[in-house]
């Protein structure tokens, strides 16, 4: 039996990121995260936590510590500015508007 505040029993389960594929042919989409002692339990917990209403046909779990992320503070310099590059979008080409099937 443990008592609250007993740091000897403190949970240190790993954090897992959960990705769910809602049906075949679609991408896995991040659903959330959970804690679990191993990958097998993580998949089972993910099923119970994120697919109670048929939200998915398949689950990925990934240790959160295995994810490498871009620096959110550097998004200005890291991501190319879309400013002045409207020509990358189809809507930029207005002269073709009346042309069918284009």
């Amino acid at each position: 039996m443990t008592s609250p505040g007993d740091s000897g029993t403190r949970e240190t389960w790993a954090l897992w990121e959960v990705f769910i594929r809602s049906s075949r042919g679609l991408s896995y989409v991040h659903a959330g995260s959970l804690h679990a002692p191993d990958s097998e339990m993580a998949v089972r917990n993910a099923r119970d936590l994120y697919t109670r209403r048929g939200e998915g046909v398949s689950i990925w779990v990934v240790p959160a510590s295995a994810i490498t992320a871009s620096d959110p503070d550097a998004r200005g310099s890291f991501f190319e500015s879309p400013k002045g590059k409207e020509y990358r979008h189809a809507t930029y080409y207005t002269k073709t508007e009346s042309v069918p099937h284009l």
């Binding site: 039996m1 443990t2 008592s3 609250p4 505040g5 029993t9 403190r10 949970e11 240190t12 389960w13 790993a14 954090l15 990121e17 959330g32 995260s33 959970l34 804690h35 002692p37 191993d38 990958s39 339990m41 119970d48 936590l49 109670r52 209403r53 240790p63 959160a64 510590s65 295995a66 994810i67 490498t68 992320a69 959110p72 503070d73």
Partner: protein, 327 residues
């Protein structure tokens, strides 16, 4: 653990560039994410609110769990189990959201079972009759939905996202409660009386779930400025009463407040004063079931220690065997 994905590094509070960026995000109705700089007060408020919310979901399983074994049919039993399971899930979404602010789950569990943290006072009322399962769904979950829908737009990203998921699931909770009462109201005289008696008990406490009147709710204004809260307590309460009155008519049930009357000028229903002394009493721990709720939660946590320990040592052993990452 990777600081980028979950446990945000807590940076210095005296960060003028951070403050500017934070103010900008709020002004643009943008979301704050765990890795963004945020004022210490914002973080603290959110930890308190989200963890209380999580605790409410976890404690909220008890009043209904009370009826699972005695539900009147297999269908109702299955529905009630699904609902209680949802509540466990909602608690987990919310604990995860709170953890992104830098508090660990064990600390939150401890705060709950030692009484250091609060949960919604509504769960300190007992559920002596089956009709209470109806009243909880219709009135308690109804009030919760009213409160929670605006929280989907809360400025803190992880909280808003958790709320979207929760609100989606919560609508079944309210409907099944309404249906329980509707069936009782279409039943025998004794069943109708049971439904009415239950609504008589739950109506006022459900209205108090929105919190004290705005003038007695000192933290509300700051929460509104931070885009955590979107509407005042009184406005949400009014919105709820306006929804309840026509629903009560469909049920054929009487809301236990003789002051309820349509006010043409305001375009809303008037309703009577609530007993805020009772609210404060329950909040102070002197409700019907405060002690029982916390004691039961503590026992469940302590009784589950061996399961957590077993899972942990199994995972450790497997990690040694397979080289799989364990923590």
């Amino acid at each position: 653990m990777n600081p980028v994905t979950e446990q945000a590094e807590i940076r210095s509070d005296n960060d003028t560039a951070g403050q500017r960026r934070f103010d900008e995000l709020l002004a643009n109705e943008d979301r704050v994410e765990p890795t963004d700089w945020m004022p210490a007060g914002y973080r603290k408020t959110l930890i308190r609110q989200i963890s209380q919310h999580a605790h409410s979901e976890i404690i909220g399983m008890q009043p209904e769990g009370n009826w699972i074994t005695r539900a009147p049919s297999l269908k109702r039993k299955a529905i009630l189990m699904a609902k209680v399971q949802d509540e466990a899930g909602h608690g987990l979404y919310l604990y995860s959201a709170a953890q992104t602010l830098g508090i660990d789950r064990e600390t939150m569990f401890e705060q709950l079972i030692t009484g250091a943290a609060r949960y919604s006072s509504i769960f300190n009322y007992t559920t002596p009759t089956w009709a209470d399962m109806g009243s909880i769904g219709w009135l308690v979950d109804g009030a919760a939905i009213c409160n929670q829908v605006p929280l989907c737009r809360c400025s803190y990203g992880p909280y808003g996202r958790a709320m979207v998921r929760i609100c989606k699931e919560e609508s079944f909770h309210q409907r099944q409660g309404f249906e329980i009462l509707l069936e009782l109201m279409n039943g025998t005289g004794a069943q109708r009386a049971m439904a009415q008696e239950s609504v008589n008990r739950w109506y006022a406490p459900a209205l108090m779930m929105f919190g004290p009147p705005d003038e007695d709710s000192p933290n509300s204004q700051q929460s509104m400025a931070w885009n955590i809260k979107r509407f005042g307590n009184d406005e949400l309460r009014q919105r709820f009463v306006d929804m309840l009155v026509p629903q009560a008519e469909i049920l054929g049930i009487t809301l236990p407040d003789p002051a309820i009357a349509w006010n043409e000028d305001r375009g809303h229903y008037d309703f009577g004063e609530l007993d805020w002394d009772e609210f404060r009493e329950v909040l102070a721990g002197r409700g019907q079931a405060n002690a029982v709720r916390v004691a039961r939660r503590r026992r469940a946590h302590e009784d589950g220690a061996w399961v957590r320990e077993a899972a942990r040592s199994y995972a450790d052993r497997r990690a040694n065997e397979t080289g799989e990452l364990a923590s």
